[in-house]
């Protein structure tokens, strides 16, 4: 019996050591990843990496337009960044609790969010679009009435659909992320998905076998601007706005934009929104 319990403890300790080793390894990796001078402060950036092409996981690494942009902006402002994938809802909680320095995750700037958070100047223009099967008879957002619509919980797509169907209507299904919402559509559990145009178009383009099409509706879905989100009263906001402006002017922004979307960005429109 004694021998057995000794072995048991040995296994437990081995586990604890293995786990703690994992932890320290990770730290070393991330600091090595950031490289750079020790004097540069490393900011904790949180995101929801389930939103290609803005941010998604590529074999354990977070990649995407937002990732490249925030790295460039932070570099311009003189910071290192460590990006963590937290998920959409926890991300807001982390920023609200000031446990992270900033968040970049295709977050639309709106008045509700401004009550709790600070935002940078807009860095991206987007509109919501409706993703439907090719044989669907939905032609505009008004046709969504009486249909089952899947969205990502807490997004502006949800707000836009709520405005049409009524808030918390039972036909509005709220999912953890857009991938699940689109899967629900593919499996026949929903008639349409409403999400940002880039995500919808990227999905339809990458999955031609799913027979999906997307439609715009400028009447019901107003243009939206993405911003970098900070905790209320963050000092970083001014520094990042300045850095972002520099990148917009010197062509770095346009280069990253073209890498991901293949077209020229409408920089004047973005700058017109900045105040």
């Amino acid at each position: 019996m004694k021998k057995g319990s000794l072995l048991f403890f040995a296994i437990i300790f081995a586990f604890i050591f293995a786990l703690s080793a994992c932890g320290s390894n990770k730290d070393e990796n991330s600091s090595a990843d950031n490289g750079g001078k020790a004097s540069k402060k490393t900011l904790r950036v949180v995101t929801n990496a389930a939103y290609a092409p803005f941010e998604s996981m590529d074999k354990g690494k977070i990649v995407g337009f937002d990732v490249d942009l925030i790295k460039a902006v932070a570099k311009e402002a003189g910071y290192n960044v460590k990006i963590e994938n937290l998920g959409w809802d926890p991300m807001f909680a982390e920023i609200q609790g000031k446990n992270a320095d900033l968040s970049v995750s295709a977050i639309t700037i709106n008045d509700d969010r401004k009550q709790t958070f600070d935002f940078s100047n807009p860095y991206f223009l987007s509109t919501n679009e409706i993703l439907i099967p090719k044989d669907s008879n939905i032609a505009s957002a008004d046709d969504l009435k009486g249909k089952i619509v899947a969205v990502q919980n807490g997004t502006t797509g949800q707000d836009a659909v709520s405005a049409i169907l009524g808030k918390n209507n039972k036909n509005l299904k709220k999912f953890e992320d857009n991938n699940l919402a689109i899967m629900e559509l593919n499996k026949g559990g929903a008639d349409a998905v409403v999400a940002d145009n880039t995500v919808v178009e990227e999905y339809a383009k990458n999955n031609p076998d799913k027979n999906l099409k997307y439609i715009e509706d400028n009447k019901n879905f107003a243009p939206e601007y993405y911003g970098i989100m900070f905790p209320k009263g963050s000092k970083l906001k001014a520094e990042f706005n300045k850095a972002l402006n520099t990148l917009l002017d010197n062509g770095t922004y346009a280069k990253i934009y073209k890498d991901y979307f293949g077209t020229e960005p409408d920089i004047d429109k973005l700058k017109a929104q900045a105040k």
Binding site: T155, N168, F175
Partner: protein
């Protein structure tokens, strides 16, 4: 910490609806899980190795994989394959019952095996068949012994039903997340949800305690 009671009040009707669904799904999960679990537990006790194998595999698979993963497989795989479209309620019932059945099976097996061999021998010597002695002598005693671990399992099941929020089944946690998504506040929705689950599990353990007392022969 400032709590905005006005938004809790606004979401109260949704939480109520969610609670009813959570209760419904849990009852279905408990009932179907118990019946299935009993059958699987008995199946695992079959002496013939080949005949008991499917039951052993069932328990290994459903106990050895996370319920969260099972929910996605059921929601996007099994339910659409059978019904043609996804259906959150069906997912909830199927995933919860299949998962709890694996645990209940082991609980019943333990209960049955804990009954003294002499009970079966005595029943058989009175001329009862094997299945009759199982039904009238062994199982009632085994069931009584299984109640405390079953109570544990059912409480876990009620709480685990919250995982269904991930596939938009409108139970308690779903509305908690919806509320969080609308107001970007964490305390109000999640404390409310926690309180609801606490009340549900308290009621459930109280009921099972009553049942235990009624079946007690001491």
């Amino acid at each position: 910490m400032d709590i905005r009671f006005d938004i809790i009040q606004e979401y109260a009707p949704y939480f109520l609806k969610g609670t009813l669904l959570t209760i419904g799904l849990s009852i279905a999960g408990v009932l179907i899980g118990t019946v299935l679990g009993l059958l699987i537990g008995l199946g695992k006790l079959i002496r013939h190795k080949l005949l008991s194998l499917p039951f052993k595999i069932y328990i290994t698979v459903f106990r050895g994989t996370p319920l969260f993963v099972q929910i996605f497989i059921v929601h996007f795989g099994i339910v659409p394959a059978v019904l043609g479209t996804t259906n959150g309620i069906a997912t909830g019932i199927v995933a919860l019952s299949l998962n709890s059945a694996a645990y209940v099976a082991e609980i019943f097996r333990g209960g049955i095996q804990s009954i003294d061999k002499g009970q079966m021998e005595a029943a058989r010597s009175l001329g009862m068949t094997h299945s009759a002695s199982m039904r009238h002598v062994i199982l009632p005693q085994a069931f009584k012994r299984s109640i405390p671990p079953l109570c544990n399992e059912f409480i876990v099941l009620v709480k685990d039903s919250s995982l269904l929020a991930a596939v938009a089944v409108p139970e308690v946690m779903y509305w908690g997340k919806a509320m969080q998504g609308q107001y970007y506040r964490v305390w109000e929705p999640y404390l409310t949800a926690a309180l609801i689950y606490l009340v549900l599990t308290l009621v459930l353990s109280g009921l099972l305690h009553l049942l235990e007392r009624r079946l007690s022969t001491d």
